[in-house]
């Protein structure tokens, strides 16, 4: 990716993000905090060419959950990372900026329990109708053994 492109990204995101790292060719990692998520997202969208949200990934780090927004354009893929605590896993929704995020947020809510404030519909997407409320299968503490015990009980 061009240096000029990278520099303009860094300038645009200054003050909103903690770091901007070139991971490898065509891969950029941007780390920000929960409070600046929406501003950072707006800044990235305003930069020419960033219009496609590929997906929202989530990783369990024990006491924290990292939410990664994969935003693509023709030149590169940016992984925008935000961490939230497991005690209070809430983030503001981005469906008003990127309407296509609607199902990805629902999926993350289903499997990890992250709440997206402002999303009008966080009903179950993947898990069955009779799934217990507090079981988030992709969190590390919910091992396969523990889940089958809970379902049996």
């Amino acid at each position: 990716m061009g240096m000029s492109n990278l520099n303009s990204i860094k300038t645009q995101l200054k003050g909103k993000v903690q770091e901007v790292v070139v991971q490898r060719e065509r891969r950029l990692i941007v780390r920000t905090v929960r409070e600046h998520l929406k501003e950072t997202m707006k800044a990235l969208i305003a930069l020419e060419g960033f219009t496609h949200l590929s997906t929202i990934t989530t990783v369990d780090f024990g006491s924290e959950i990292e939410v990664i927004y994969h935003i693509a354009c023709e030149d590169m893929l940016i992984s925008l990372k935000v961490q939230v605590s497991k005690e209070n896993p809430t983030l503001t929704t981005i469906v008003d900026l990127i309407p296509g995020a609607v199902l990805y947020e629902r999926e993350v809510h289903d499997l990890f329990g992250v709440k997206f404030e402002g999303n009008p519909d966080l009903s179950p997407l993947l898990l069955p109708d009779n799934w217990p409320d507090d079981v988030y299968p992709l969190r590390k503490e919910w091992t396969l053994g523990r889940i089958s015990e809970k379902m049996r009980g």
């Binding site: 496609h52 997407l125 299968p137 992709l138």
Partner: protein, 390 residues
């Protein structure tokens, strides 16, 4: 005006995800749609964390029967990124050939399936007969018709011999002629045009905002294809066209896919002619270096993404898969608004879902609570009748 709520789905055993849609309709028009997935949710991402990287190649192939090579390639590419390694050149060409053959068989399957949805049984029979030819070629190379077991971490497991090359050449020439013939049918046959032109409109701005991918996006005029934007395997060395059409309707989606079949055949020919000699695989250690990787591949249905995080052990810390159909669902819901009930099967088929069209449609009159049920066949017949009277 009275609105009806129609649950649509969920069963269809043969494809990846049976889906349930709840439609709200007024008279003959759809006014609202709500999707519900989960009928074939297998918990693959969780399972992947308790298996080794090599075992997960087997799992990744079985995410979807029709795009199995795309998923396997996407996954193995992610692992190769973590190793920061390059696979042998010959392996890249073999991966490209297999990927394009998978694209051809997928598009033929889809064309037949969409034709059936329009009541065009003959075209369905013809295209599925032609698809058998490409499946026989895939079986010759890999031993299987789907879930080939060819892509592996570090390259490929099966080679393409000179005898195979001659046979493949012969078969793809035949398929190219067939594809051109079907293109003529789809652009001139009135029954198809009536059901597809101007139906299921997705404007370019909506396609971008709703993050559509693949032929669905390219039929709205947006030139986006992972093979061109972020070349993987051997795509960087092969000249090919990214097919787009501006119609934004089901007819354009048909034409994009038929043209992609023809383009795939050209790519295969180029690869067969220029495939370099050499090894097909590099062995890799069991334990994968710590790190994370995002791999993108253009599956037949669109952009496929695999995110992989490694903690340095022999099992992944996290595997995330985003298959193309999930990306196209919001666009599908947009396309379904303000169409006739009779157009529902064709529009759903138009995005080439890894879920079939509905098996059953239940119509409910919200006020009187009266229910009717249409089976999939009855809905298709209803649609044909509706169009005949129009």
């Amino acid at each position: 005006m009275k609105t009806f709520r129609i649950p649509f789905g969920p069963q269809h055993p043969a494809l990846e995800e049976p889906i349930n849609f709840i439609f709200e309709v007024e008279e003959e028009r759809v006014v609202n749609v709500n999707p519900r997935l989960g009928y074939i949710h297998r918990g693959i991402e969780k399972l992947a964390e308790s298996r080794t990287y090599h075992q997960n190649v087997y799992l990744a192939e079985r995410i979807c029967g029709i795009c199995s090579f795309a998923h396997a390639t996407c996954y193995t590419q992610a692992v190769e990124q973590l190793f920061a390694m390059n696979i042998p050149e010959r392996a890249k060409f073999i991966r490209t050939i297999m990927a394009e053959m998978e694209r051809i068989q997928n598009h033929y399957l889809w064309l037949g399936f969409t034709a059936k949805g329009m009541g065009f049984e003959t075209l369905f029979m013809y295209t599925w007969r032609d698809r058998e030819i490409i499946l026989a070629v895939l079986e010759m190379i890999s031993g299987k018709r789907v879930n080939y077991g060819v892509s592996t971490i570090g390259g490929v497991r099966r080679d393409i011999t000179c005898t195979m090359i001659e046979q493949i050449d012969d078969k793809v020439n035949h398929l190219e002629n067939k594809a051109k013939y079907y293109k003529k049918i789809c652009t001139r046959e009135q029954t198809i045009l009536k059901r597809t032109v101007g139906v299921g409109i997705l404007k370019p701005r909506d396609a971008l905002n709703l993050c559509a991918v693949g032929p669905t996006l390219r039929a709205s005029g947006i030139r986006r294809d992972v093979r061109a934007d972020e070349p993987y395997a051997a795509y960087g060395e092969i000249p090919f066209r990214v097919i787009t059409y501006n119609g934004c309707d089901v007819a354009s989606r048909i034409l994009v896919r038929i043209d992609e079949i023809i383009e795939s055949i050209k790519i295969i020919r180029y690869c067969l002619k220029n495939i370099p000699e050499g090894s097909i695989r590099t062995t890799v250690p069991r334990k994968v270096p710590e790190g994370e990787a995002v791999s993108l591949v253009e599956a037949p249905r669109g952009e496929d993404l695999h995110y992989l995080k490694s903690d340095g052990s022999d099992k992944p810390a996290r595997l995330k898969v985003r298959a193309p159909t999930l990306a196209n669902l919001p666009s599908l819901c947009k396309m379904l608004i303000d169409i006739n009930i009779a157009d529902i099967p064709v529009v759903i088929a138009g995005i080439d879902p890894c879920i079939a069209c509905a098996e059953r449609v239940v119509l409910v009159n919200r006020k009187s609570k009266k229910r009717w049920i249409y089976s999939g066949n009855e809905l298709w017949r209803y649609a044909e009748e509706w169009y005949r009277k129009k």
